[in-house]
């Protein structure tokens, strides 16, 4: 494994930025006796996904994996507009993934493993969910040592009203204009409850910091630059909390949207057979607890959703296309900007 990482590093340096969309990182995991190459475009951080990819490769030693990390919107651009040739697209932006499938960029795939998925975890046999990750509130320990922890959005609003000065400039959330995942979470929040807009008003008054990624928010919480981060990806937060500590994770009890990370096989896939093997591997992730633990990506677990009524898994389907509508998006962003910037 160390050797694989080493060679991967070499490729990171050598990989040429050949495509127009923005690549965050490009890693190649060469097989010892390469028989096929699986090209994956993904939004999952390398730290989270590398254990899964290496686990896959140890079971399928003949497959070289070419792993490209990009943002959710760039992934959409790469697949839908630039026809970049990838076998698999893995993203946390369910709406964009749904749009890719709806607009005909996904291939139908059926296997025993996908048939075993619950209905809410697949769409058209083109889109398959393999993780369930709630969006959470994280609070720095330093700022909440003597402060009661808010458990609902209303309590959070109340807290911000009572002690605005304490939190001015120390609240972070996604910039939904640039982050697909942030936009998905914000639109789902808005769909579920009007409280979301009141919350936006409240944090907008306090000079909120806007972020592209969960990782940056977690980093700033840990470093004491932020006291509150809203709508952070729970899986990354949990992984980071285990490593460093310094903050706490709150699953809001009025409702917490649960994002399903999905994978689809591109219609442009050159190695659809290997792509299918990878899909099967991913949707049966819960059978490999050591990989789940190493990656920090929670596998699908229908029972967990049933036990906690506040957890709202986002439904795959054409409903997700609504907020991608041009006018709808314009309207939403206008309202969002108005609330956040208080202009």
């Amino acid at each position: 494994m160390r050797l694989a990482c080493l060679s991967a590093l070499i490729f990171v340096i050598l990989a040429p930025p050949a495509l127009a969309f923005e690549i965050e990182e490009h890693v190649v995991y060469p097989a010892e006796n390469p028989q096929a190459e699986l090209r994956i475009i993904s939004t999952a951080d390398r730290s989270a996904f590398e254990p899964i990819l290496l686990g896959f490769q140890s079971e399928n030693p003949g497959i070289t994996i070419d792993y490209t990390i990009t943002s959710t919107t760039e992934l959409m651009k790469a697949v839908a507009e630039e026809n970049a040739r990838f076998d698999l697209a893995i993203s946390s932006a369910m709406d964009l993934q749904t749009k890719l499938a709806n607009d005909g960029f996904a291939r139908v795939y059926r296997s025993d493993a996908t048939a075993a998925l619950p209905d809410w975890a697949r769409w058209r046999n083109q889109l398959f969910a393999f993780t369930q990750e709630p969006a959470v509130l994280i609070l720095s320990d330093a700022d909440f040592a003597n402060t009661p922890v808010p458990t609902t959005r209303s309590e959070l609003i109340e807290l911000l009203r009572e002690t605005p000065e304490k939190f001015r400039g120390k609240i972070g959330t996604y910039d939904v204009r640039t982050s697909g995942f942030g936009y998905l979470m914000a639109t789902q929040d808005a769909r579920v409850s009007e409280t979301f807009w009141r919350l936006l008003e409240a944090i907008g008054r306090l000079d909120t910091q806007l972020y592209c990624c969960s990782g940056d928010m977690i980093r700033d919480i840990r470093d004491g630059r932020l006291a509150i981060a809203y709508n952070v990806l729970g899986s990354y937060a949990a992984a980071e909390l285990e490593k460093t500590g310094g903050f706490q994770i709150v699953e809001l009890s009025d409702f917490s949207n649960v994002m399903l990370r999905t994978v689809l096989i591109s219609t442009e896939a050159a190695n659809s057979v290997e792509a299918g093997v990878m899909v099967d591997f991913l949707v049966t992730l819960e059978r490999r607890p050591e990989l789940v633990a190493a990656s920090g990506l929670p596998a699908l677990e229908a029972e967990a959703l049933g036990d906690n009524a506040a957890l709202r898994p986002i439904r795959l389907g054409p409903g997700l296309l609504v907020f991608l509508d041009r006018l709808k998006r314009q309207n939403f962003l206008r309202n969002w900007e108005a609330s956040i910037t208080q202009e």
Partner: protein, 459 residues
Amino acid sequence: MTEARITGSIRRRLFLQLVAIAALLSVSLFFVIRGLAETAAEATQDGILAASATSIADALRSDAGAITLDLPYSALSMLGAINQDRVFYRVVVDGATLTGYDDLPSPDDAPTISESSFLTFDYRGDEVRMVSVTRAVSTEGAPANVMISVAQTRTGLAVITRRITGIATAAGVGFFLVATALSLLAARSALRPIGQMTASVTRRGPGDLRPLEIDTPTELSPFVDALNNFISRLGASLQRSEDLIVEAAHRVRTPLATVRAKAEVTHRKLNKPEHKQAMREMIRAIDESSRSAGQLLDHAMVTFRSDNLAAEDVDLVEIVRETASRLEPTAGLKDVIIRTEVPNLTPPFKGDWLLIQSALQNMLDNAIKYSPDDSLIDVSLSLNGEIRLSCKDQGRGFGTTDVDTLKSRFARGTNVDDIVGSGLGLTIAEDVARAHGGLLEIKPNDKGEGACVSLVFPL
């Protein structure tokens, strides 16, 4: 007997025709079910698409002179509620796309305010169904004409169609199988009267020429009438033959008696032994002729009385005694002794006295005829689960003759050429036995030589 020329089976033809009809109906059923269900499924999809388009239309607003749309979440999510089809939409304001898929084509015939337009075409690799509605939205200037199109692929519809086709196939096949089974029953039941009629004709005794009296369906009644007509003509014809025989026998018997009387007188007057011998042979021949005539009469009587059998109490013991004593003189001529053996109690028996007597007389007559001089004839009446009236002689028996053939009219044994006989005696006995529900049994005497002929009646 000539075999009927068989040219096919009514039942098979009926069955095949019914099956053909059932097959036709099954196929029709299949297409009707599928057609209706597909229409219903299509109507459902059209309805949902129209509802979606209408909800989008209702969300149109004019804002500062421009038309804007806050796409309702339900407009697209409702399409995902029943299946997982791909969804496309487009909103066009005065020819320019406001939002949605720019390349979604406009319908050929534009929708009106009151009428939506529906179109099926290929789009982005799949067949889609599109519904378009139109709305006039007032802006600050003139009202703008807005057309909303919502399209959905038809994969879900295809799944439903496949399932319905499966159901329709099962219904068609099921209907066909049930109809086939019922056709089989129907064909069988329709032809049951023919079978019943055949059975009732077959069951009849050889002499039964009564008209058929059975329940007859309308279609068969001409046939039954014709058959009855034929039977009555046959009966009349047979009757005429019997009458002729009886008449002939009568006419012959009286002159024979006269000739015999004359011959006896002449015999007594003759002196020369060879002349006497010739005359004796003549008398014997006359006797045989007169006996044959008598038997013909008996036979006619048996035939007649069997058809309308009397059911009076018959004392069989009395018949045995009387018949034996009546034939004793004849037996005496050959020094043959008739021994009778009867039970103390006469068995209950219903039948025709004259017929039983006639049968026994013929049996005894035969026995005397074939008995050697100085021999015994045993006549016995026994009860042993059945009534058995037997006549045993010590004559020559039947030799190699098949005994069953002896029962037919004018049939005689192969070893009796030297004895005059008509061959009617056993036929008469047989007819009487049958008329009383019994049978005639012919076998060799179990006590030495000779024959044993029995009338056997069930108790």
